[in-house]
């Protein structure tokens, strides 16, 4: 093993990689695209803002002379805001079938059918209202329904409170004429009116719940969530680029025709292995760095990093171990791939699949049991989980040390197996 040969391989690999448009795409541009897509599609800038729904309204209660009628309700729909954003963009329809056609065509997010007598019933008793939930896709159906339900529940509660207040007002004003003063209910200290006020408020809202956000800091805002996904994008690059580097270790040179000359040179196969691995780790470091830079400056990602916390230094270590692990897996793949195209294709497909099972894009809780098992036994998942434990859930050194050792052990085993595969490929070449 000679340093000059190893250095020559590192320099050559970095230059050939960074000058190849195809390689450059996968190593530099693809992670950037992933981060940007994540930043603007998974978590769009409007994620913190309420969504405005385009809704249709058919109002059959527009001619009522009651103090509140369907037209007032339409006006409320048109003016209601949440966090300074209009909740509904209202389109009025003459009849139900035209509105339903537009709902079916995905041109509306929802619709209201206001029946005759709606306003009067609302004031004096219980009003009926038909609400249509539209959707242009499965996810938007859930969101639209939640917004429409939220609005109606909020409005119902508001109306109920107003009715209760009105009732209490009249009870206070006229009750003394018909009820003995200081009439109390046995077992209660309040007067009857005070008791009824509390009782009716309970009817409107039996549980007055308060929700307090205690999510990890990393999941609190869009910028921190993007930071979380940025690490995921970097992890995914490591998965498939690492596999690619490992699988092309000998096959790439063989296909270029350069392997013959390299084997005839005084450099040993170990020099080549170390040189290419170092170049691979540096390349993956570059990919990760670029992902982080694009995440921070391109999408506004916030990544928690505190150099004073020793556990945070485990993150770069885990990244290096993850890189070596995937390069090792890639070398194992080279046993079955005979061409660079085959190796590259297989690594990309496997990398994509593993990124899902490793829980990079979606929580593992979404996966079926068998798929979750695959993710749990895959060592790259341990590395990714450990990194997220540190950077998302602020786990301490003691909490992630065991996982780090597990990753170290798995990387050692897989990389050693990879070396055996690499030597087998070289031996096959010499025998063929």
């Amino acid at each position: 093993m000679r340093w000059s040969a190893i250095k020559a391989f590192v320099v050559k690999e970095l230059k050939t990689t960074l000058r190849s448009r195809e390689q450059l795409f996968w190593i530099v541009f693809w992670p950037m695209i992933l981060v940007l897509m994540t930043g603007y599609i998974f978590i769009p800038p409007s994620v913190d803002q309420p969504k405005t729904l385009k809704i249709g309204v058919v109002n059959y209660d527009n001619r009522s002379t009651a103090p509140f009628n369907g037209s007032y309700f339409v006006q409320i729909l048109d003016e209601v805001e949440y966090k300074g954003v209009k909740l509904f963009d209202v389109v009025e329809y003459e009849n139900e079938s035209t509105m339903v056609d537009d709902l079916k065509g995905g041109r509306l997010d929802g619709g209201f059918l206001i029946p005759r007598g709606f306003g009067a019933n609302l004031m004096m008793g219980q009003a009926t209202l038909r609400i249509y939930v539209g959707a242009s896709d499965l996810q938007s159906a859930q969101i639209n329904e939640a917004i429409l339900r939220g609005f109606i529940e909020g409005m119902s509660r508001e109306i109920a409170y107003r009715k209760v207040n009105e009732t209490i007002y009249y009870m206070r004003r006229y009750g003394s004429q018909y009820m003995p003063e200081n009439l109390t209910i046995p077992g209660f200290n309040e007067t009857l009116v005070e008791f009824l006020e509390v009782w009716m408020t309970g009817l409107v809202e039996p549980i007055n719940a308060t929700f307090v956000d205690v999510k990890p800091e990393t999941l609190m805002t869009r910028s921190t969530v993007i930071g979380w996904y940025t690490l995921g994008a970097a992890g995914m690059s490591i998965l498939y680029t690492g596999l690619n580097i490992g699988s092309l270790m000998a096959v790439g040179e063989k296909e270029r025709g350069t392997l013959k000359r390299l084997l005839a040179s005084p450099a040993t196969s170990t020099d080549m292995l170390i040189g290419k691995t170092l170049a691979g780790v540096l390349t993956l470091g570059l990919t990760t760095g670029l992902s982080v830079i694009v995440g921070i400056f391109g999408c506004g990602a916030k990544i928690l990093w505190n150099p004073l916390k020793p556990e945070h230094w485990l993150v770069p270590l885990l990244l290096v171990l993850g890189s070596l692990l995937m390069i090792g897996f890639g070398m194992l793949l080279s046993l079955v791939t005979k061409t660079a195209r085959g190796a590259s294709g297989l690594s990309t497909v496997l990398g994509m699949m593993l990124s899902f099972t490793a829980g990079i894009w979606f929580p593992k809780s979404w996966m079926p049991e068998w798929m979750r098992f695959l993710g749990d036994v895959f060592p790259a998942t341990w590395a990714i989980d450990a990194m997220r434990s540190i950077m998302v859930f602020e786990a301490g050194l003691a909490e992630v040390l065991l996982d780090t050792f597990k990753v170290l052990a798995a990387t050692t085993v897989i990389y050693l197996l990879g070396i055996l595969a690499y030597r087998t490929v070289l031996r096959r070449y010499a025998e063929a």
Binding site: S4, A8, F9, R256, D271
Partner: protein, 320 residues
């Protein structure tokens, strides 16, 4: 450690004993044995598919022989120290297209343990010798085929090798550059370097080789100094006759005049091997003319290694 200094100068630089290489059912190299002395240029002459490239790959330590032994400077070619003393120039120009010519050769300089200003100086010297210095910073992917071949050759020389294995080094080069490479090989010989040159150009083998092994079908069918090989074949001269029409019909007319009936037809031309050209040539011409053949040209030349190969195998080295 310089292995070459530790060994007796009488020991052969390259020793090949009963080497065979089989790929499945096909035998690429069949029980080949020879020795090459230090400072000798040894030609491996044969048509495509004769086994020259496989043999050179075995000598370079890239391919393992199925049987037999190979020693380079007394050691195994698989030894990395031995490989440091061997320069290998594969047939196809194997360079990294993304790197410049200079970066390509610098990479191999690194593999040979050269670095810094020493490596830069050596690389520039070699590029200059092969007329590539002007294009040193251009990416090798933009080089012409001939330029790549020259770079390929320069890379083989970067380690200042004691033994040079050259596989068709001048194929695809223009005549001027080919002459430069020949001069370089001659210079290497004068420096005491050992060269094994695989080629299918008989002029190249004749011009450069001290000894030649003629290969066909994986076997060495003749070995020796070029002049000796020609003598052993009993050839003194070759009469080339160019006719106006296909020469196949004239075969019977000229056969009686040929040495051991050695006449070869190739399109409109006849190649007649004779012992006494001065006597035979006029007779051949008059016989052909009397039988209605029109003669375009006649040339009498000494025999070449191509003729030796033709005599031994009945085929030409380069099939048209």
């Amino acid at each position: 450690m310089n292995l070459s200094n530790d060994r007796s100068m009488y020991e052969p630089a390259v020793s090949v004993k009963n080497v065979s290489k089989r790929f499945g059912d096909r035998t690429a190299v069949d029980d080949v044995s020879f020795e090459v002395k230090r400072g000798e240029v040894y030609g491996l002459l044969g048509p495509n598919g004769a086994g020259k490239t496989t043999l050179l790959s075995i000598l370079a330590g890239v391919v393992n022989p199925t049987s037999g032994t190979v020693r380079i400077l007394g050691t195994s070619p698989l030894d990395s120290k031995t490989r440091g003393l061997v320069g290998f120039c594969p047939q196809e120009p194997v360079v990294y297209d993304e790197l410049s010519g200079f970066e390509n050769i610098m990479f191999y300089a690194g593999l040979h343990g050269l670095s810094g200003s020493e490596a830069v100086k050596k690389c520039r010297e070699l590029l200059d010798k092969l007329g590539l210095l002007e294009y040193a910073d251009r990416r090798a992917g933009k080089y012409s085929g001939g330029m790549k071949k020259r770079l390929n050759f320069a890379i083989a020389l970067i380690g200042d090798p004691e033994v040079l294995l050259l596989d068709e080094p001048t194929t695809g080069m223009d005549p001027g550059i080919r002459r430069t490479v020949w001069d370089l090989i001659a210079e290497l010989r004068s420096l005491g370097k050992t060269v094994i040159l695989a080629t299918h150009y008989m002029e190249e083998a004749e011009a450069l080789s001290d000894r030649v092994a003629i290969m066909d079908g994986g076997r060495v069918i003749a070995e020796g100094e070029p002049e000796m090989l020609k003598k052993e074949c009993g050839l003194r001269a070759v009469i080339n006759l160019e006719l106006m029409e296909p020469a196949g019909g004239a075969l019977k007319l000229v056969e009686p005049y040929a040495y051991e009936g050695a006449v070869y037809v190739d399109g409109n031309s006849l190649r007649v091997y004779v012992e006494d050209p001065d006597t035979v040539a006029p007779k051949l011409v008059s016989r052909l003319l009397n039988n209605g053949y029109k003669l375009l040209a006649m040339r009498i030349s000494p025999p070449t290694l191509e003729d030796v190969f033709l005599k031994l195998t009945g085929r030409r080295l380069v099939e048209e």
